[in-house]
């Protein structure tokens, strides 16, 4: 759906404005998290290169870290980590990995909120979250731990749940292309986020739209009266009209600004693609005043 690419483009946009950005990805494989590369950043956008940090959080590494903290003797820690049962337990204990991931996200966010403007480590913390279903089950992990367990993990679960149900802490930006299934999923996800987690969408990023979608109604009406022999044109027009219907449905259902991100057709390299996308990502209410 373009979440990783748009997260990077957004990070690049704010980095170029001189804002410090930490971008967290949670893909299972670090090399794939950055399937779009930032190569060439320091020569083309030196200011952004100074300000943009991409962090990959691997829940397994977080758990490993925790074990090392609790068992300062490396030999003991290794024995625990290497034991088959511990490994398999972590693997099948429901929601445990998600729980650790949320915990670290909260730590990162708190660090930023508690700092004063001058001492803040970063201005934006961008989370390239997993796809809708897995994202919701990640958020639910805190809730489940609070509901079904007692003791320290339940307390931590309650704490996480409070933190991730507070719109002062979290801004939700759903990303969707104008396709049947993606739009349906986006509507279901935003409904659950706003009703259960009290996190309504701040803006919707509508990805990969065509010139038919952005054209004015008058120009389009004129086109529709003519006869078009080219199969390529009829195809582009048909798909574009379908996109317009979906864009309208999406606007009716989600009361937030909808930012149309055009499908980019030509780019020299990944960074160039990101720079072009960054130009379209003017999200109302998220831009900080220009730095001196």
């Amino acid at each position: 759906m373009g979440k990783t690419t748009l997260s990077l483009a957004l990070g690049l946009r704010y980095g170029k404005q001189g804002r410090k950005v930490v971008l967290v990805t949670s893909h299972p494989l670090p090399e794939l998290a950055l399937s779009v590369s930032l190569a060439g950043l320091s020569s083309r956008f030196p200011l952004a290169a100074k300000n943009l940090f991409v962090v990959h959080l691997n829940p397994i590494e977080l758990i490993t870290e925790l074990v090392h903290k609790h068992f300062p003797m490396p030999m003991v820690a290794r024995a625990v980590l290497n034991s088959a049962i511990f490994g398999n337990l972590v693997d099948v204990a429901p929601g445990l990995k998600e729980f650790f991931f949320l915990g670290r996200m909260q730590q990162l966010a708190e660090r930023q909120r508690e700092a004063t403007a001058e001492s803040a480590d970063y201005d934006y913390l961008i989370w390239d979250a997993p796809a809708s279903g897995h994202f919701l089950s990640t958020l639910r992990a805190g809730r489940s731990f609070e509901t079904y367990l007692t003791g320290p993990l339940a307390a931590a679960g309650a704490d996480l749940n409070r933190f991730f149900s507070n719109r002062d802490n979290i801004t939700i930006l759903p990303v969707t292309p104008l396709e049947d299934m993606a739009v349906t999923e986006t509507l279901e996800m935003t409904k659950e986020l706003s009703e259960i987690f009290q996190l309504p969408a701040k803006a919707v990023l509508v990805n990969s739209v065509s010139p038919v979608c952005t054209a004015s109604a008058e120009d389009l009406a004129q086109l529709l009266t003519a006869n078009h022999p080219s199969p390529a044109f009829r195809f582009a027009l048909d798909r574009g009209l379908m996109e317009r219907e979906m864009a309208a449905a999406l606007r009716n259902m989600i009361p937030a600004p909808h930012v149309l991100v055009p499908r980019i057709t030509r780019w020299e390299n990944d960074l160039d693609l990101l720079a072009q996308l960054a130009g379209s990502l003017n999200i109302p209410g998220l831009e900080l005043p220009a730095t001196p």
């Binding site: 625990v80 339940a154 049947d180 054209a215 120009d219 390529a232």
Partner: protein, 338 residues
């Protein structure tokens, strides 16, 4: 019997390609079943997938084979496994257990475990071919990895609660660190919370017969999934992502001793350039279309050059004018398979 597994990331049209492949097989005389995890609402209706546990036959006029469809509903499959494999007096205890509730409410990671369970159920029902559409994720390979982790856990027979200590200390390998083992274990409880550890262990001790039965079946099923005489892997992607996606899946499968049969490049824009005069909005739309189309052609050539010799075949599917919303659309995709 043959099994065809489709792998791919989200949004590439994996379900459509898998369903069209099943349709094509049914049309050519094969008794085919499509097992899908997450079809769009309209496709679900087209395939008559109302009941989570039953297979439905999709009526096809003039087909020599049969098309059946089944849905992978994780919760329903899990409940069913408990009812089938746990003793009557344990069933309610399991279904009411807090850990079961946690599993059922987050379901993270359960999809692959239950997919294998469902494939196992379906293999006994006499289909010639089962076409599987995996969950949209880069973890698609968990389908063959995860059940084995689970089997390893349930194989540790000592996972039982006895008073305040656990009998499975030896199985943990903690005896190697000597008499401090129990102390270490106490600290493990402090770290993860005694409650979580105990709940999980208590749950698995109840769940054991189900888990053990599951592991036995899963090991056999995974073996079948890894047998190239039975199972074929196909990678589905779109032109923009195909080189990265396919390279990743081909490499990952190779580390498991599997070589995928096909790469399906879906949603390609390949209309020929008719060189019509272009001006105004129409010209803008055409320029835009051909620019995208050129990038698709370039991506397809590149994947042929780089991966052509590592897979049996590379198939290309043209994108349809509308989203795939029913049998007619599936027929259009199926007609592109030679």
């Amino acid at each position: 019997m043959k099994i065809i597994i489709h792998l791919g990331t989200g949004g590439v049209g994996k379900t459509s390609v898998a369903a069209a492949t099943a349709l094509k097989l049914a049309r050519s005389g094969v008794r085919t079943l499509i097992l899908t995890t997450d079809p769009s609402y309209r496709l679900r209706t087209a395939l008559r997938l109302e009941n989570a546990l039953l297979e439905q036959q999709v009526p096809l006029e003039g087909a020599t084979g049969q098309l059946w469809a089944a849905l992978l509903d994780v919760r329903a499959t899990l409940d069913e496994a408990v009812r089938l494999h746990a003793k009557a007096d344990k069933q309610e205890k399991i279904l009411q257990h807090p850990i079961y509730a946690t599993i059922a409410s987050s379901l993270a990671g359960m999809q692959e475990l239950m997919a294998v369970e469902r494939i196992d159920q379906l293999m006994r029902r006499g289909y010639d071919t089962i076409v599987v559409d995996t969950a949209p994720s880069r973890h698609a390979l968990d389908l063959i990895d995860k059940p084995l982790h689970f089997a390893a856990l349930s194989a540790a027979r000592r996972v039982k609660l006895v008073g305040r200590t656990y009998k499975f200390v030896e199985a943990l390998g903690l005896t190697t660190i000597g008499r401090n083992a129990l102390d270490v274990y106490k600290r493990a409880e402090e770290m993860l919370g005694a409650n979580l550890v105990r709940q999980v262990l208590d749950f698995y001790s109840l769940f054991f017969p189900v888990a053990e039965g599951y592991s036995e079946r899963a090991k056999k099923t995974v073996e079948i999934l890894r047998n190239p005489m039975v199972t074929e892997f196909r990678i589905v992607s779109t032109p923009a992502k195909v080189l990265r996606d396919a390279t990743f899946f081909v490499d990952e499968l190779a580390t498991r001793g599997i070589s995928p049969e096909k790469i399906c490049v879906n949603r390609a824009w390949l209309h020929p350039d008719t060189r019509e005069p272009r001006s105004g909005l129409q010209g803008e739309i055409l320029d835009w279309y051909y620019a995208v189309s050129d990038s698709h052609r370039a991506a397809i050539s590149e994947v042929r050059a780089k991966l052509g010799n590592r897979v049996g075949e590379i198939l290309v599917f043209n994108e349809l004018e509308r989203d795939v919303d029913g049998l007619d659309a599936l027929e259009k995709i199926a007609s592109q398979i030679k």
